[in-house]
Amino acid sequence: MIDIVINYLTEPWQTTILLCVVFACVSSGVLSPIVVSSRMAFFSDAVAHSTLAGVALGMLLGVGSPVTTMIAFAVIVALLIATLRQYTTLALDTLLGVAMAGSLAFGVLIYEKVRGYSDLHSYLFGSVSLLGTEDLMFLAANAVLALLMVGLFANKFLLVAVSRPLAQARGLPVARYEYLLIVVLGLVVAVGVRAVGLLLVNALLIVPAATSRNLSRSVAGMFWGSVAVALTAGLAGLFLSDWLDFAASPGIVAAAVILFLVSQLLRPLLGHHVAE
């Protein structure tokens, strides 16, 4: 096990992978408390699913790099959902369900035509072992973006999360902040999906804060706990997957979920009141 860790620290291509995972975990870990508090978990899922259609569309249109169409499509879908939300009486989860099913079906249809079915696997689960310098740049940019969002707007997002009417009454342009969060989430999710797969991006945006919420009584506790959970799961999943010879992405997700289950068991011991 130790030699695996040492390899990750010394072999340049492995160090790249390690840094990719660290950046992916940092961006998800810092955004997770906002996503979970704002009840956007299902939303990020829907946006993540739309990225497939974005990639497929890019290939179909012959755009140089499908990354552009992927990010653009994710952001467009995100904005579309946010806008529809204002003009429909449907519940948000229903709307997201439709968006998710629609963009996934649409994506798979085009994807099969242009590339065959085999690559879907890497789209869903990522290919951590193939991560390179370009991914590292994207994921680093993601982490910077996520940190900037939190650094500049966390208080606003949290006030909206506590109570939308209260935030409105205090003069906050709530809709504008919601759009901002949605666009940034669209970006972060799209870039994340490309590098580490849909499953991992979603899991890391939701599970870390779900875990830290169980154990903390303050925003600070929830936030730092979330970052710690994301990083612990990321590193443990990466090293263990190498050691036990399984794929890294599901390994990281499994590690995060195990941490969540542990937090759920610890919760009563900490004397926290059960959620109403």
Binding site: N155, L158, A161, S163, Q168, V219
Partner: protein, 239 residues
């Protein structure tokens, strides 16, 4: 009490789906005055406050001569969100993210505001664990930031026990006397507000009556405003 108007409403109408929620309401509030806005549920009281806050479209004219502090009606919020009262206060008191630490100046100001409402001991409590009365105090403390000239309180007593209600109203009364605040107190319960307010405005979509509590509150008036339900007077009913 001065005579300078702080809040002026001229023929304010709010409509939704072709139906008037508030119709043609006009009144003026001078500095230092404390009025109660009463009416049955669905009479448009909250809508009128939202119009004053600029949160809904309205016709007519609203002129406000100062900053507004607002305490919402029994706040629906995520009680499972881990957040201390101090962190909640800090959300609006500092621009740096609360998770990166609460600044010393923020802490001092938050404690000062909480002290105004007798709630310093709640600073470290979890926001989700507060009782109805405690939550109202914290909300009032939050609303007092920025030294608002006009306080809008929407059913501040709803969900609060009778003892808590009395002390809460006492707190508001103190704001009026010590800080010269002007207060609009929304209530569906006359008995709560008639003793402490200078003036009562009865609303049921239209303005139904206006004047000193004791002069106005005859049985016929109440019947007129509340559509025959006298139950609102001298009696509690929560929803």
């Amino acid at each position: 009490m001065g005579h300078e108007p702080l809040l002026q409403l001229n023929n304010v109408t709010v409509e939704a789906g072709g139906k008037a929620l508030v119709r043609d309401v006009s009144f003026t509030l001078v500095r230092g005055e404390m009025i109660a806005l009463i009416g049955p549920n669905g009479a448009g009281k909250t809508t009128l406050l939202r119009a004053i806050l600029g949160l809904v479209r309205y016709r007519g004219k609203i002129v406000i001569g100062g900053r507004i502090g607002y305490v919402p009606q029994r706040l629906q919020y995520d009680r499972t969100l881990p957040m201390t009262v101090l962190e909640f206060m800090a959300l609006t008191l500092q621009s740096s993210p609360v998770m990166f630490g609460i600044r010393r100046a923020t802490r001092r100001r938050a404690l000062e505001l909480l002290d105004h409402v007798g709630a310093t001991r709640l600073a470290r409590s979890s926001l989700g664990g507060l009782s109805g009365g405690e939550l109202q105090r914290v909300m009032l403390a939050g609303a007092l930031h920025g030294a608002p000239e006009l306080l809008l309180l929407d059913e501040p007593a709803a969900g609060v026990d009778i003892e808590g209600e009395a002390t809460f109203l006492e707190l508001i009364h103190r704001q009026v006397h010590e800080r010269g605040a002007t207060v609009v107190l929304v209530s569906h319960d006359l008995s709560v507000v008639s003793d402490i307010t200078d003036r009562v405005i009865c609303l049921n979509v239209d303005l139904k009556c206006e004047g000193k509590a004791k002069d106005l509150l005859t049985a016929e008036r109440i019947a007129e405003v509340f559509g025959g339900h006298k139950a609102v007077y001298g009696h509690h009913h929560h929803h």
